[in-house]
């Protein structure tokens, strides 16, 4: 019986007990394959739904389709799987930073289905974030199945996310970098190796099933110095566009959040509005990969005004879809908006200086995508590698780097955190490894408790107290009630020093009279960050910890520093 069951606890095998790297690589392959299959499943079903709905697009009432889809997706999330709306990436980062990557099993499919409904029906959103969430949840649940520890689980969550991106874009490096830069926020070899393996597995599965094709292949570009210089302008424009998108989504979220109707009604309303826009500008509907294709190929024929309008409308449609409660990510819309922006920039340049020989407009569309992605995600590395890989063109790397980095820089001026992590940073939940906040969150009051204080009773004479002082190592004495044992106050040796050397007081003073009753106390489950704030405000170095009205121990900055340092050392991952 025991031997039969032990396969579920591979971490206990002798082979893996001392070094889990091999184990992680094995499981990473499994996670990579599963996560990649989930991504392909979503992709295939999106294509199926799109082609199934295609005949209806021409009919005048087609604008309700996105509404129905969004409503269904919202109902599915709310009633069937009991989850909130949103794209899910913050949830992944949250669980990675606070709970060692523990995620619910339902997360591994809920967003897939809901985003499929939203996007398939025409809502303007991307399938990437839901796929990332599913991949991460798959990784987490596989780790749970094998009873792995937190560090290994986090690695597998990263594996799932990496494999999802790798698989959907056929871009292994971008997957790896996305996972490290956005999800884990940590570059260490212990994580890099399983994630790399998972990326490879994910990409390979997708290549076997989907064929090895570059998502947006293009013609050869000739880029000279002049083109690189004008990239600066493009970087600023894409930064502006990504800020606009961020703000719009937030605005719509606030607007719809106040609407006094059920969630699915809001989603339906948002969806119908998108549908209406789609009637006149079908390019804004869906994830929009087709239009990106056209733009990079340089066959997108419309003029400057139309392109600018399309960029704005796509922003509007995306914020309507996501803000009203539709399910999906911003990755694909970013790519579309980015290519519109790039194209518009190119058209503008041609209008202004028709004599200069600009590079093909497809190149600018591509740079625009990089600019928008790096602006929204504030993750320039991901943007650079993703664009290089999905376009298969290394020759654009120089302007690509410029646009990505500068766009990120500008966005950071205005938005303090990326779109994915904004909510988390605002609530103080973004706890990257080896940061102050992370260390303080991991430590808890129980671990820092100093229990070597000697408690005294309130009706004790000063004379008896002197004998206790002789025995004690500490300068603090908690005063307790005789009967209930409740904490009443503290005696600080510094405060009562004058009385200690006055034998006349020995039999005249009770401890209850000289104790300090206005003491700042903390509870066992208080957050260390809050405790430290209180200490700083009141210039304290230690505080008594009181649990259920009883004195539990002291907490002091000295012990904290000791443990803090150990924690920091231990967090170093190889």
């Amino acid at each position: 019986m025991h031997s039969l069951k032990s396969w579920r606890y591979p971490a206990k095998w002798i082979l893996f007990r001392t070094d889990d790297r091999l184990l992680l690589i094995f499981i990473a392959v499994i996670v990579g394959i599963c996560s990649s299959l989930a991504a392909i499943l979503l992709n295939r079903s999106l294509i199926a739904i799109l082609s199934w709905l295609h005949p209806f697009r021409q009919i005048w009432w087609a604008f309700v389709l996105p509404g129905i889809g969004a409503a269904m997706s919202s109902l599915f999330l709310e009633k069937i799987v009991n989850e909130g709306a949103g794209h899910g990436v913050p949830e992944v980062v949250y669980s990675v930073s606070r709970y060692g990557g523990l995620m619910r099993f339902r997360s591994s499919f809920s967003r897939l289905i809901s985003s499929c409904l939203t996007i398939g029906s025409g809502g303007s959103a991307g399938p990437e974030a839901p796929v990332v969430m599913s991949g991460a949840a798959i990784g987490s649940n596989i780790a749970k199945f094998f009873s792995l520890n937190d560090r290994q689980r986090v690695a597998l969550v990263g594996c799932g996310a990496a494999a999802a991106i790798s698989s959907i874009f056929n871009a292994p490096i971008a997957g790896m970098i996305f996972s490290m830069e956005v999800i884990l926020g940590e570059w260490s070899s212990a994580y890099l190796i399983p994630i790399a393996i998972a990326s490879v597995a994910g990409t390979e599965v997708s290549r076997i099933l989907q064929g090895n094709q570059i998502v947006f292949s293009h013609r050869h570009f000739d880029i000279d110095l002049m083109n690189i210089v004008v990239c600066l302008g493009l970087a600023i424009i894409t930064a502006a566009a990504s800020i606009l998108l961020t703000r719009m989504i937030k605005y719509m979220n606030g607007k719809y959040g106040k609407a006094p109707v059920p969630l699915w009604m809001r989603a339906a309303l948002g969806g119908c509005t998108v549908g209406l826009i789609g009637l006149f500008f079908p390019v804004v509907l869906g994830e929009g990969y087709n239009s990106i294709h056209m733009m990079i190929e340089g066959v997108f024929a419309q003029g400057f005004i139309i392109v600018v309008l399309a960029a704005f409308l796509k922003i509007l449609a995306t914020s309507l879809t996501l803000g009203s409660g539709g399910s999906g990510g911003i990755f694909a819309p970013c790519l579309v908006i980015g290519s519109f922006t790039g194209l518009a920039y190119h058209r503008g340049l041609v209008l202004l200086w028709p004599s200069v020989s600009w590079v093909n407009e497809g190149c600018f569309a591509l740079l625009g995508m990089a600019g928008l992605i790096s602006g929204m995600l504030q993750a320039p590395m991901t943007a650079i590698f993703l664009i290089v890989e999905i376009t298969g063109g290394y020759e654009v790397i120089l302007p690509l780097i410029i646009v990505s980095t500068i766009s990120t820089t500008f966005c950071r001026y205005i938005e303090s955190a990326s779109f994915y992590l904004k909510d988390l940073t605002e609530k103080g939940h973004l706890l990257r490894p080896r940061t102050d906040a992370r260390v303080l969150t991991e430590l808890n009051v129980r671990e820092l408790l100093e229990t070597d204080c000697i408690g005294v009773k309130q009706n004790m004479l000063l004379r008896d107290f002197i004998n206790i002082v002789k025995k004690s190592h500490r300068n603090y004495f908690p005063v307790e009630d005789e009967k209930t044992g409740h904490f009443l106050g503290m005696i600080y040796l510094d405060d009562i020093r004058p009385y200690l050397f006055n034998p006349g007081m020995y039999d005249a003073v009770l401890l209850g009279q000289i104790m300090d009753i206005n003491v700042q106390t903390v509870a066992l489950d208080d957050d260390l960050t809050e405790i430290l704030d209180i200490m700083d405000i009141n210039h304290l170095y230690s505080m008594p910890v009181v649990a259920d009205n009883k004195f539990a121990g002291m907490i002091s900055k000295a012990t904290l520093l000791n443990q803090y340092r150990k924690e920091l050392m231990v967090q170093a991952n190889d």
Binding site: K12, E442, L443, E447, N467, A572
Partner: protein, 229 residues
């Protein structure tokens, strides 16, 4: 190796809660197996060193100076012994005579001790009043390594020690100790005895060895009971 979690915590000098959390988070190369923890000693040691943590298994940590806390007055006084009728009419002379009679020291050490005692006397007199002096070297003698000793010397004639109360000294306790901590402990215990007027009176009778030891033992018991020192 297999150990309970609180033992590991003890050897790592960490709270149990922390070790528990580290195992769960996979930050420490230890596996949980029910209430026990499984680990490989060499790997855990290497890990501890690289994280600046101490990891000592019980063998090394338990043999840590057992006797220090237990050094008491009576054994030290027994060790030092009693010297009656110490001759001399000045501080230097009585100290010289007393040091010569201290049993367990070598000739060189005696010379050094004498010089150090004089040096200490020059700083301030060790006559603490009531005719009692506690001469001691300011720094520890290299030859006194393990056990402290108090040699009680009754003087033939009271000597002017320029004590705090200017009373001539009739008894000296020469205090030799291996460390400052023990020195202070013995000094404080001795002082506790000498605070008692009746004890000083008793000393003036130049009691014999057994009666003296008995008296000290009684005091020691009293001190241990109140646990004041």
């Amino acid at each position: 190796m297999k150990l309970a979690i609180n033992e590991i915590a003890k050897y790592l000098d960490l709270p149990v809660n922390t070790v528990e959390r580290w195992i769960r988070q996979g930050k420490i190369p230890v596996h949980r197996d029910g209430p026990d923890c499984i680990f490989k000693k060499s790997i855990l040691k290497k890990w501890a060193v690289s994280r600046n943590l101490s990891f000592t298994l019980p063998k090394n940590s338990e043999t840590k100076h057992p006797g220090i806390e237990m050094e008491n007055l009576l054994p030290a006084i027994k060790r030092g012994g009693l010297i009656h009728n110490t001759k001399g009419d000045s501080v230097n002379a009585v100290l010289k005579a007393a040091v010569d009679k201290i049993g367990m020291l070598s000739a060189d050490a005696k010379k050094e001790l004498y010089e150090r005692l004089l040096e200490r006397e020059r700083l301030t007199s060790t006559g603490i009043g009531n005719g009692v002096a506690i001469p001691h070297p300011r720094t520890q003698l290299p030859e006194v390594k393990e056990n402290a000793s108090i040699t009680t010397c009754f003087l033939e004639e009271p000597v002017d020690f320029s004590a705090v109360d200017d009373k001539p000294v009739f008894v000296m306790f020469i205090l030799l100790s291996p460390s400052v901590k023990i020195h202070l402990r013995l000094l404080s215990r001795l002082a506790f005895c000498l605070r008692d007027e009746s004890f000083v009176k008793f000393l003036r009778t130049t009691p014999d060895t057994d009666a003296f030891f008995e008296r000290i033992a009684a005091f020691e018991k009293q001190i241990d009971k109140t646990d004041a020192l």
